[in-house]
């Protein structure tokens, strides 16, 4: 029996030789055990070594292989080729980001936004080592664990229509990661993060479309994080208006 094949229509953009992106079609074996990333690596190894894309772990951990497959943001290492039979399968770089080359997007805008929410544990006064560890109960861990699962794959930014329309929007993953630290019993930085997130380009551009949570491969539920944060920020706002002396 001859090996069945499937066509991949791959987005190509080589800034040194073309001004507009094009699509290039590759015919690859349709193997049952292959994910889309395997097919891309097959192209790179056997057909066209110039195709450029990011990947590393091949197991849904590093968050670097996100792309649009038939218009939906997914991790290509978690997307079985067979699901797209009979094809063709359209593969594009993540939407809402500038493209560096082929399937590689520029992440610097996200990196800057992520830094703004101070995604690390902030304490007013550091405890001396001699005083021992910061202990945490399983319940306290459960409060933020879900948000700590984020792998910075940026699928949520690609899925979010508001991110597309409002490039200043700080975005789903950055807010979920802010919550990851806000809800950590060891952290004391929530007021600093509130200052950043209660701006117009913080949480308030979110209109609860919910696509971020639908595409997140790690069940982080950034949309839920944002809604919880809206409640906290609203309480804070009303308190500051009704009881300005309480600040």
């Amino acid at each position: 029996m001859t090996q069945e094949t499937i066509a991949l229509e791959v987005f190509r953009y080589r800034p040194e030789q073309e001004r507009e992106p094009t699509f290039q079609t590759y015919e690859v074996p349709l193997r049952k055990d292959w994910v889309v990333l395997d097919a891309l690596n097959y192209i790179k190894d056997e057909i066209d070594g110039t195709l450029t894309f990011r990947w590393s772990c091949r197991m849904g951990v590093c968050g670097s292989c996100g792309m649009m497959i038939n218009g939906t943001p997914v991790l290509t290492c978690a997307a079985f080729l067979e699901t797209y039979r009979p094809g063709p399968v359209r593969i594009e770089p993540l939407a809402n980001f500038p493209v560096v080359r082929d399937l590689v997007i520029l992440m610097s805008d996200f990196m800057e936004k992520l830094g703004r929410v101070k995604p690390w544990i902030i304490t007013d006064k550091e405890k001396p080592v001699a005083e021992g560890e910061y202990l945490q109960t399983p319940t306290q861990l459960a409060d933020f664990k879900q948000y700590s699962m984020c792998i910075n794959c940026l699928l949520c930014y690609s899925a979010c229509p508001v991110s597309g329309l409002e490039p200043d929007f700080i975005g789903p993953a950055a807010i979920a990661l802010a919550q990851r630290y806000n809800l950590d019993s060891r952290d004391e930085g929530s007021a600093q993060r509130m200052e950043v997130l209660s701006q117009d380009d913080g949480i308030w551009q979110c209109t609860l479309v919910g696509e971020c949570s639908a595409v997140c491969p790690k069940a982080v539920d950034p949309a839920g994080a944002i809604q919880r944060y809206k409640v906290a920020s609203t309480n804070d706002w009303w308190r500051s208006k009704l009881m300005p002396w309480g600040k």
């Binding site: 200052e195 804070d236 706002w237």
Partner: protein, 115 residues
């Protein structure tokens, strides 16, 4: 950098959404189905009027109607911004959506007051 004033509208939006999701289906069931189909007895005009005349009933109706209107205003504002991509008409849209909701609330208060 300035703290957003969105919490003002969002609080009304949230309250209106929760209240109408909770109460409107029950009210619709009673007034639009159960009563006309005779599943429960329809109160006489006088009895219904006496019911809404109670200050608490009027307060409830005012909260339900005005918060639902404010919920609409906030949702519709973003529908126009993002859905129809009319963000350049921002001040006009804000005026229309929240202004409309506030006008509707004032009118509601007036009607309920007159009862």
């Amino acid at each position: 950098m300035k703290v957003s004033n969105e919490p003002l509208w969002w609080a009304f939006f949230g309250a209106g959404g929760a209240l109408s999701a909770l109460c409107v289906p029950a009210l619709l069931f009673l007034v639009a189905l159960a009563m006309p189909l005779g599943w429960i007895e329809t109160p006489s005009y006088e009895a219904a009027r006496a019911l809404v005349h109670h200050p608490l009933a009027r307060l409830f109706l005012f909260a339900l109607i005005s918060l639902s209107l404010l919920h609409w205003g906030h949702r519709f504002r973003y529908t126009l911004y993002d859905g129809l991509q009319l963000k350049h008409l921002e001040s006009l849209i804000v005026l229309f959506c929240y202004g409309g909701a506030i006008l509707g609330s004032v009118f509601t208060a007036f009607v309920l007051w007159q009862l």
